[in-house]
Symmetry: C2
Subunit: 219 residues, 2 copies
């Protein structure tokens, strides 16, 4: 039965990649840079988006696509700071896919944006297998999750362009070896840009914002 299943899944993957390519063309047409944010539940995806919008302070025009199994609590938080946000509810789905993004893009004013954050479903496993049309793949790890996560979830750490290590304000209260963690991540992914920061205290935000501004220059 498993042998029969593989071709079907492959066909679905290809259909997803095809739509991802169309999404990418649409982003490019409007000069919008899209960032797919992947992390565990509670790593601080929405917190990073909100802190980044505040720190950018209008230097980039931001839109947000929020992916969750259920509820619109995240989209509501983003709209409250005056930024357009579309909520996708996946039902039981454990990741976003390209067709969901295509639908969401119909509701975003792309002409008026430079940067779109796509907050994927909180999950360190499934989202990494599905291209959405993004230019940049951002992972977020957080200090309370522990410094051993690259051992256990190597795929996601291998397939990202940048990694935010969030909640460094909790380092005094939690055993987390930042050097060892970064060493592990770089073993899997030597090129990845790593930004330890705290969305609460703002420590480390400057380096992240500097990188983000460089990434989206000319957008």
């Amino acid at each position: 039965m498993a042998a029969k299943r593989i071709p079907v899944v492959e066909r679905i993957m290809n259909a997803n990649d095809q739509v991802a390519l169309e999404n990418r063309r649409l982003f490019d047409l409007y000069g919008v840079h899209a960032i797919n944010i992947m992390a565990s539940p509670g790593a601080g995806k929405t917190a990073l988006i909100l802190s980044t919008i505040a720190a950018l302070n209008g230097r980039r025009r931001v839109g947000v696509i929020e992916g969750d199994l259920a509820s619109d609590v995240d989209a509501v938080k983003v709209r409250r700071v005056g930024v357009p946000a579309v909520q996708i509810n996946t039902g039981g789905g454990c990741h976003l896919d390209a067709p969901q993004i295509r639908s969401a893009l119909e509701e975003l004013p792309l002409k008026e944006l430079d940067l779109v954050f796509i907050e994927n479903v909180g999950n360190l496993v499934c989202p990494v297998g599905f291209a959405l049309g993004e230019h940049t793949r951002l992972g977020i790890a957080s200090v309370p999750e522990g410094d051993d996560k690259p051992h256990k979830y190597p795929s996601i750490f291998s397939h990202i362009d940048a990694l935010v290590v969030n909640k460094i304000d909790l380092l005094p209260y939690i055993p987390f070896d930042m050097d060892e963690f970064q060493r592990l991540v770089r073993t899997l992914n030597p090129q990845v840009a790593i930004f330890p920061l705290s969305c609460v205290t703002g420590e480390g935000m400057d380096a992240w914002i500097h990188w983000l501004l460089g990434l989206t220059e000319g957008s």
Copy 2:
């Protein structure tokens, strides 16, 4: 294509349930109580298993099955305290399934055990759909993940028998409304037993151990 896919997935689900039933019979034959532990990456699944083994202090004979995409770091930690542990590596798989547990059971000395903890892959979405043959489904939430998780991942909070709220030692440093969190959880699952605790300070462990001893009485 999606319409064609559904029957294949259903057949696989049924095959899984069939093996789960066989696993359950095997556990029952040896008088072993099996607990399927599901949580986000870094919520403290291994920490809870280790703290529980220490707190039980021999009152139950424990075995552990560790599920991860890669590595055997968790099984090594468990074996270090003298408890038999089998590591399952799922490769890219986002959850454990019943056939994996059946294989692992061949390596556990069931005759000498009262209690088996099955640590599922860190994921709040996929594990909930796959029965393993367990008697009890335990969820772990952790304070740093935030108090809004039941809104976003309602399925897992609806399908567990008990919920540990871990890392309460971090409550002074993180905004987390424990009453509101528990209210949300009970809206989804009125019967669930909830145990706020800290594996670091030991606070709240007594109630959890008391409940666990009651659950496995006569094992």
